[in-house]
């Protein structure tokens, strides 16, 4: 059956909504009849909510697998001459840890999972614009993930050249075996999956918004997912094509990145000699990879910025401070992030240092605006320190530290000194853990009641947060110090007489504290499953449209919609005396932005 959707009806609201009879759409009569059931339902679903949950569950499983790999790495480094794993296994561990975390968890959890579930709800759409393409995206992601894990079961083991697969290390000569090939194929599959998801997100946001949901009334999370969708469309095709060329180098004798075996053709009396003009360029791989790789950092970060921007206003009981500033800061970060790819290549000596350094430093400006607005949103708010808000504050602190050290690394002299040391490892873990994990799990705690109609235990959530917070700082702060002392990354052993062990031990202890925190999350999920506490439709008194529908939402999301007159339609509907302030209007007689709104102008409606 193909469901043809009529728009939901309007509820009477404070802002002048009109109640109209429910339209008969040939669909409302049989909400429970949506095709197959059981396993076949999951295999054939095109519902964005089921697909979003599938993404989240898969990516969380891979997050735990990659986390266990991280523990293996930390156990190996706890002593200078660790023998927990062999050198080969160590190389495989850090390669697969990075690959799983970056390609298969942080991105897909956000743009495949949360965005898939939340964006159509936030814009008032019945589904994603291309539901079958959405389903295909998930199957490509799942099979790509399986393909990557297959590397552990092939002869020679998994890929072991790091998550960046630099040429010529990733050539067939230096990394023979099927492990590298399945890694390349896995990323090709997940690359197409990401591209299709990007198309779907942009299409949904441009074409399926509810009446009145103008672009500048969209929640910031949706805005960030739009910008992320564009970034995906810019970055992922470059990665996918670069990977195909790498595969050709490995198997079809092309010399695109390869500098091995590029010789003249031997003829009678003229043996083959090296021919530089027939050689490829290893730096080309870095160029292509980082043209994907740096936007990828923001593909991983921007959705999580959006999550924090959804949560902080709700738990501060205020509208977001500087809505348009947030939107333009997101655009600026995305634009600049696509022009800074070669700051990862400063030490190659073949990149334009002033250009890439300047653009990298400039990213601090819009990021600073975001911090200013997050603090402005909390300022004089009635802050409620429930679990999602705690995780958001943890995100702010972690990302601040990662961001400041990022500014340091944008300066070539400092980068020359710290390149490929643990200082860089600490920096990018603080950035990515800060965003994908702190803000990501803030989003999980925040939207879990909407997805399942039941609450997670707040007490256990706080235990999860505090253990993770302590473990996070204990893990990564010592890595800055040991990096400045000169410890290189990607080494399985290190000299015992340089004083590095104590920092590595602290880091290892912190990693185990983080692991305990995620055991607490599992307990929390178990309790929520076995002893559900009903959440209701809007347990946090949320602002955006997703809190207007039931928890979990029905098939095609809405039977009714409120009038949309601001970026907080649910708040406006639930608090008719405290409507949101229209952008640019003043609130005579009342402090602006405090959420009381008692003396504010009402937004005129038609």
């Amino acid at each position: 059956m193909t469901d043809v959707i009529n728009p939901p009806i309007t509820l009477p609201g404070s802002a002048g909504g009109v109640h109209v009879p429910a339209a008969h759409d040939g669909h409302a009569d049989h909400h429970e009849d949506h095709g197959p059931s059981g396993l076949l339902k999951w295999l054939t679903t095109t519902d964005h909510k089921v697909i979003g949950l599938s993404y989240m569950i898969t990516s969380l499983c891979l997050f735990y697998v990659a986390g266990i790999m991280a523990l293996g790495i930390r156990v190996q480094l706890a002593t200078p001459s660790g023998s927990f794993v062999s050198f080969q296994q160590y190389n495989e561990l850090f390669t697969m840890h990075g690959s799983l975390m970056l390609y298969l968890f942080a991105g897909p959890f956000a743009f495949g999972g949360l965005a898939n579930y939340i964006v159509p709800l936030q814009v008032g759409a019945p589904d994603m614009a291309f539901p079958r393409l959405n389903a295909l995206s998930y199957w490509l992601y799942l099979t790509g993930s399986i393909t990557m894990l297959l590397g552990f079961f092939v002869a020679g083991g998994a890929a072991d050249f790091g998550w960046v697969a630099y040429a010529p290390l990733s050539s067939a000569v230096y990394t023979p075996g099927a492990g590298a090939d399945v890694w390349i194929m896995a990323l090709a599959l997940t690359g197409f999956s990401a591209i299709f998801t990007g198309v779907n997100l942009v299409g949904t946001i441009f074409y399926l918004r509810a009446p009145g949901m103008t672009m500048f009334r969209m929640p910031i999370f949706t805005w960030n997912m739009l910008v992320t969708g564009i970034l995906i469309l810019i970055a992922f095709p470059v990665l996918t094509s670069a990977l195909i060329m790498l595969f050709c180098d490995r198997h079809f004798g092309t010399h695109i990145y390869d500098v091995i075996g590029c010789t003249t053709t031997a003829t009678a009396g003229h043996p083959a000699v090296p021919d530089p003009s027939a050689c490829g360029s290893p730096v080309l791989w870095q160029n292509l990879f980082w043209f994907f790789g740096h936007p990828e950092v923001y593909i991983l970060a921007l959705p999580y910025f959006g999550i924090a921007t959804e949560i902080i206003p709700v738990f501060s009981r205020k509208p977001v401070f500087g809505y348009k500033g947030m939107v333009f800061a997101t655009m600026s970060i995305a634009a600049l992030s696509t022009g800074v790819w070669a700051h990862h290549m400063f030490t190659t000596g073949v990149v334009l240092l002033p250009f890439f350094s300047l653009l990298s430093l400039l990213i601090a400006v819009p990021t600073g605006i975001k911090f200013f607005n997050w603090i402005g949103t909390m300022w004089r708010g009635q802050i409620q320190f429930q679990t999602p808000m705690l995780f958001c504050i943890g995100f702010l602190l972690a990302f601040l530290m990662g961001g400041v050290t990022g500014v340091m690394l944008a300066a070539p002299p400092i980068d020359f000194f710290t390149h490929d040391t643990y200082f860089v490892v600490a920096h990018f873990h603080q950035v990515l853990f800060g965003t994908a994990v702190f803000a990501g799990f803030a989003g999980l705690y925040f939207w879990y009641p909407k997805m399942f109609g039941r609450m997670l235990n707040d007490h256990l959530g706080k235990w999860h947060f505090w253990l993770m917070f302590v473990g996070f700082w204990l893990t990564f702060m010592p890595q800055y110090i040991v990096g400045l002392k000169g410890m290189p990354r990607r080494v399985a052993t290190y000299p015992g007489d340089l004083g590095w062990q104590i920092y590595n031990d602290l880091s290892t202890a912190g990693a185990f504290v983080i692991a305990i925190s995620f055991a607490v999350l599992l307990v929390n999920l178990w309790i929520s499953w076995r002893r559900p506490v009903p959440a209701g439709d809007n347990p946090w008194d949320g602002h955006a449209l997703e809190w207007f529908t039931t928890s979990p939402p029905p098939h095609h999301n809405y039977t009714h919609l409120p009038p949309i007159r601001s970026e907080r339609p649910t708040w406006d509907y639930n608090h008719p005396d405290h409507p949101s302030l229209h952008h640019g209007t003043k609130a005579p007689g009342g402090p602006p932005g405090d959420g009381s709104g008692g003396t504010r102008e009402k937004v005129p409606v038609a």
């Binding site: 109209v20 197959p36 539901p131 099979t143 099927a178 194929m185 009446p211 103008t214 292509l288 022009g339």
Partner: protein
């Protein structure tokens, strides 16, 4: 549609400018081509959106095209729109479909064939072709498995 158009054209203009600056500072063709490609990625759909924005307003697209009767902005672009202004068919959403799964499995086997042996291409391509036919037929007639 105006904001969408400005957003995408802005992407094109920004990366066009950055690409040109980068070229004249570095003469590095790889990065220049990627930046110009990104410029095109913004400009092409952006100008298309701008064209439809002008059509909705009953205006010419720059100096090209005929003046149509204005149909006005879409309900989602109007600040004063009510929900019922969007009355009518929004879109056609397939209730469920097995073909994305079949297509995904076909792609899976096809890429594995490149690593483990071309014999996997037989089931892989078979699934891909079946799914493409199936999804096309399904789109024509509607319906689910």
């Amino acid at each position: 549609m105006r904001i969408e158009a400005i957003f995408l054209i802005g992407v094109g203009i920004f990366f066009g400018a950055v690409g040109l600056i980068y070229w004249f500072l570095s003469y590095e063709d790889g990065g220049f081509m990627m930046l110009i490609g990104t410029c095109a990625l913004g400009l092409l759909p952006g100008l298309y959106y701008f064209y439809w924005h002008r059509r909705f307003r009953g205006s010419k697209f720059f100096f090209w095209g005929t003046l149509d009767r204005a149909v006005g902005d879409r309900p989602e672009d109007r600040h004063d729109a009510n929900i019922r202004d969007g009355a009518g068919i929004i879109n056609s959403f397939p209730g469920s479909s097995i073909w994305p799964f079949i297509l995904g499995m076909g792609a899976f086997l096809t890429v594995l064939a490149l690593v483990f042996g071309v014999w996997l291409l037989i089931p892989g391509v078979l699934l891909l072709v079946t799914a493409l036919i199936g999804v096309t037929a399904e789109s024509r007639r509607g319906g689910h498995v």
